[in-house]
Symmetry: C2
Subunit: 200 residues, 2 copies
């Protein structure tokens, strides 16, 4: 029996922080791990901006509620859930993802949580587990599942390497040349075919 | 962050073998682990009857396709998926469960598989893992989830004991007195309240 694990942002959903930056007009929020590789520094920077602008979880969720899953993602998720157990492995926060997860029919999501203070103030964040994507795949292997994983960027790498079958979805050019062993897919139809081929 | 694990038959779905017995008129298939505690013996007995009657996976799935989730189970599952990551832990077989899982919106299911020969003949079964329910809960704890589990019978016991919070759903009378520490729920509204109370 096989299980399929997917990254969330970039595979099924738009990049949430980028979308929030666009919708709020706060260009500073476009900064990503590519600009600031220290994740904790990046998150502090983002939360400081929200603080300064008086933006709480309510406003953020309102913005996120106006977003939609990537084109084709809803149908793809529907198909995948009917073919194999599906677990989404993401480093997003449950309170951010929720309005969009509803639009995907709430597939099972393993992620992290924001720490909320009074009045919807975002006071911090709690990583559930370091390198949780890789560790989840390892746990599923120990539960005697064959594992198929797909993701779009460097923070998916350890998950893709730990899985029996790793698949790249719209990765950066650099990643394609650095990791030529992973098949590269550019749309959901393509990803569907690559997963189907690996499902026994 | 917390995860919720549910047993399937008796909690969300009717007991599939009992339903198959009723629908096919084969009363011998009503035998359960209560009558024959040796699971392998019981499965051999069931598969021998199917063989004798010339019933393959196609016929069984047709019968199962006419069944429905327990009253209230669809709404309960919808609610639960919106509140927490949900994984169904069941000792059923994926090929049996599929037609009914579709009616539940395909929540993530960890179970076992039938071994199919030519022409839909059921030649055997493959347990993915011994005591998989308990081991899944243990794996989720190691992935730093708080764990809430609900089930209806003795084969859920090790799962309920391993979880941070175990809840009984319509258990046999004997089980209530033997395990008074688990709260007992008798319908999905009740189960919902007990889970909600334990979700942080």
């Amino acid at each position: 029996m096989q299980i399929v694990c997917l990254d969330l942002e970039g595979v099924l959903l738009p990049e949430i922080w980028i979308a929030v930056a666009l919708k709020t007009g706060l260009k500073e929020l476009e900064r990503t791990t590519r600009d600031e590789p220290d994740y904790d520094k990046l998150m502090r920077y983002r939360l400081d901006i929200l603080d300064r602008e008086g933006i709480g979880i309510g406003e953020i969720r309102e913005v996120i509620g106006t977003l939609d899953p990537l084109p084709g993602a809803v149908e793809f998720t529907e198909w995948l859930k009917s073919r194999a157990p599906l677990v989404i492995l993401s480093d997003t926060f449950s309170q951010f993802a929720e309005p969009l997860m509803a639009k995907l029919g709430h597939p099972t999501l393993f992620c992290h949580e924001l720490v909320l203070g009074g009045n919807g103030h975002i006071s911090g964040y709690a990583l559930r587990l370091e390198d949780q994507k890789k560790k989840a795949i390892k746990a599923f292997r120990e539960l005697n599942f064959g594992t198929i994983a797909a993701g779009d960027s460097y923070n998916d790498l350890s998950m893709l390497q730990e899985a029996d079958h790793g698949i790249l979805f719209r990765p950066p050019e650099k990643m394609k040349t650095e990791y030529p062993n992973f098949p590269v897919t550019e749309d959901h139809e393509d990803l569907r075919k690559q997963i189907e081929k690996r499902l026994q």
